[in-house]
Amino acid sequence: MKDQLKIAVYSGDIPSTTFIERLIHGLSNTGNSIYLFGFIKKKTKYQDSVSVFGYKNTRQHKALHYIKYSFLLFCFKHKEKRKLDAILKKQSKNLLLTKVKCYPVLWHKPDVFHVQWAKGLADWIWVQEFEMKLVLSLRGAHINYSPIADKTLAAMYRENFPKADGFHAVSKAIGLEAVKYGAVKEKIQVVYSGLPFVEEKKTVAKQKDVFQIISVGRAHWKKGYTYALDACNILKAQGIKFHYTIVGGTNDIEFAYQIHDLHLENEVSLLDNLPYDSVQTLMQHADLLLLPSVEEGIANVVLEAMQKTTLVLTTDCGGMDEVISDGVNGFIVPIRDSEAIATKIAEIVTIPQAAKEEIREKALHTIKTQHSEDQMVHQMLALYQSIYHDKA
């Protein structure tokens, strides 16, 4: 029985997205060794327990990386290198770059190799041939819509999902979606995203003449901002005083035209991507965080808003109903329904302050009990341990 594991968290990029970095940070405090492989986008400071075996995106750096690991494997793990070369030759389109990615993994051989994005799964099935356990995260678009539009991707999932040793699902809903592609139900562990503990501050009084609504996220169709803007049009027609801000919505001509077309220039602002702290401040000062998405795993921005005690209105997409209970700790409406968004906002505006405060408190309670970073880290470790000890 081995208590301390070598765990590779692989997203392809170093550093990765906020929530993957949060997982890495959490795992690094557990006494396990964390390995990061892939392309180094920028130098990042990690705890001592985190080892980075990445390469920079220059020819020289990739060449040195390749030579170093080729040499080590040739001298000390010759047989395994030959075996891997044969596997890669069968599956690879760009053999050299694939070796740059794969050789360090074979050399360092983590106990568990955790792939964060499903589209890359086929590239890493080989690790199982070398006694590494393969875990796949089931996240957002990669599971929910990409395989619906891309038949080749769906076929790849059907071929490889049954082979994975374990799955980390960000919500129950996405776990069920993965089962459609052959993921074994018993191997799926739901681990919700967790937020670090923040000392409670007294909330800013949120009572203004103009109801402030905010959305945060990249300008992508899956975020459903067009529905939010149509809802704004309805609200304006009803004479409700509001202002809607989309952080991350600038430079999108579709939104800009919709605002122009619906004459919402005074009611809607598109802001550029902002630093994390500025977003948190904006969110804290808003009356409502709106998530009009048509697809999500569980949107982290909703969790952050709940932690900031900002009211949340979300669509019923992905696993959002596992977090929000309508009228209890937030509000929920069907997807692709501008009318429903507008109606719900109009309702929220009229809710008395005391009732709003109660909802905010319940939202905070949900975060503390269901989405703490500690909980996330412990559940992930439990997943790794159970998979590893299956092998043992």
């Binding site: 067009t226 048509v294 997807i335």
Partner: protein, 399 residues
């Protein structure tokens, strides 16, 4: 037009690339001008190998690629040409730009990049899209030519949102504008362009080609079709939402979307979430003969766009006798006359679109035939290639 710099009146048309075979608008325009005794020179940014046999003289911009050394070398050559081959025109361009308050660096850049225009003699320099005339506002004047600019939907309605103020300089110049619809003319009024500077010339289609060969057979299910690239401005998500409502009403249909584009994933997922994926076919891009075949199989043509200059595909569908339902986006309400040659539905409202389709389905055959015939007659009268060619000859001769 009485006095010309050249033996025959010469029109310089500015485009990004040589029009491909399917781009009938520019090909027809060029052919029409040539048939009417005009000489045409095409100015393009890029030249493909297959462009060498194009029907008129083609002048391409210098290749300023990413290689720094090559870029410097090309700039140097262009500068030499400006000084020694057409110094007067280069000087005028520089002076006019300076008068417009353009900085020295930007001015020199424009002189270098636009040098390839200056060696040609033309009576008119006609920019095929508004954005192509940006940073070239004084080129026609430097060539002692008249300037014309055509606007399509995207560059009039969307480019100014993407690049705020992009036409501020352009709209101060003495230009004849060509737009596709009266609505677009109204839009130019908002920029304080006077009426006598704007001519509406609608798109046109090859009517003999778009004449129905076969009568539409009655099918059990309703066949709907749209020809559009998969772009948000085509309003296809709203269309799918309307069709989901239609399905809920118990109307059996099949919807074919002809066209390719970056939004396929968005549309397939929308159809999936709306529960109509099995009722929708995405054919991808098809050749014109295949498009015609597909249209002939359908009963109703939908063009529920969010933004649209005029839309050739709707004219083609009308010519083939399809019942057309369009949105009221910009020029579409002029393309289809509501209740006479088809139906116009306010945009961004799937409920209204679904209701309209349901109403049409319930019409008697005689009522449907009446609308279809009206549409065919109007297309023959208003949207033929000859009429368009004559309009352009008039555009250059009378201004």
């Amino acid at each position: 037009m009485t006095k010309h710099k050249t033996e025959r009146p010469t029109i310089g048309i500015v485009l990004s690339t040589v029009p491909r075979y399917s781009e009938t608008f520019f090909r027809n325009k060029i052919k029409g001008l040539q048939d009417n005794g005009f000489r045409v020179i095409l100015f393009v940014d890029y030249l493909e190998p297959e462009d060498s046999n194009f029907a008129c003289k083609v002048v391409a911009s210098n290749v300023f690629n990413k290689n720094t050394f090559k870029r410097i070398w090309c700039s140097f050559l262009a500068l030499l040409k400006s000084f020694f081959m057409h110094p007067k025109r280069s000087s005028i361009l520089y002076t006019l730009n300076k008068r417009d308050g353009i900085s020295f660096k930007e001015n020199m850049k424009q002189v270098i990049l636009n040098q390839f225009f200056l060696k040609e003699d033309v009576d008119w320099l006609h920019f095929g899209f508004g954005m192509l005339a940006v940073k070239r506002e004084n080129v026609a004047a430097a060539m002692c030519a008249k300037m014309a600019v055509s606007f399509r939907g995207y560059d009039l309605y969307l480019s100014p949102l993407k690049h705020p103020g992009c036409y501020n300089m352009l709209f101060t110049k003495d230009i004849q504008y060509h737009v596709l619809s009266q609505e677009m003319k109204q839009e130019l009024f908002r920029y304080k362009i006077s009426s006598n500077k704007i001519q509406v010339i609608t798109p046109a289609i090859d009517i003999p080609f778009f004449t129905a060969n076969t009568a539409v057979e009655n099918k059990n299910r309703l066949e709907l079709v749209t020809v559009a690239r998969l772009h948000w401005k085509k309003g296809l998500v709203y269309t799918l939402e309307a069709l989901a409502l239609l399905k809920q009403s118990g109307i059996a249909f099949h919807y074919t979307i002809i066209g390719a584009g970056s939004e396929k994933e968005r549309l397939v997922f929308a159809a999936y979430q709306l529960g109509i994926l099995e009722d929708v076919t995405f054919t991808g891009k098809l050749v014109q003969s295949e498009v015609k075949k597909q249209l002939e199989q359908a009963a109703i043509y939908l063009q529920y766009s969010i933004q649209e200059g005029f839309c050739n595909a709707v004219i083609e569908a009308q010519a083939l006798g399809l019942l057309c339902v369009v949105s009221n986006a910009e020029g579409l309400a002029e393309n289809v006359l509501d209740g006479k040659t088809g139906w116009v539905v306010p945009k961004r409202n799937p409920v209204l679109l679904a209701n309209k389709i349901e109403t049409i389905v319930k019409l008697s055959e005689a009522e449907k035939q009446k609308i279809s015939k009206n549409a065919i007659t109007r297309v023959h009268k208003e949207f033929g290639l000859i009429k368009q060619q004559e309009a352009f000859v008039h555009f250059y001769s009378e201004n």
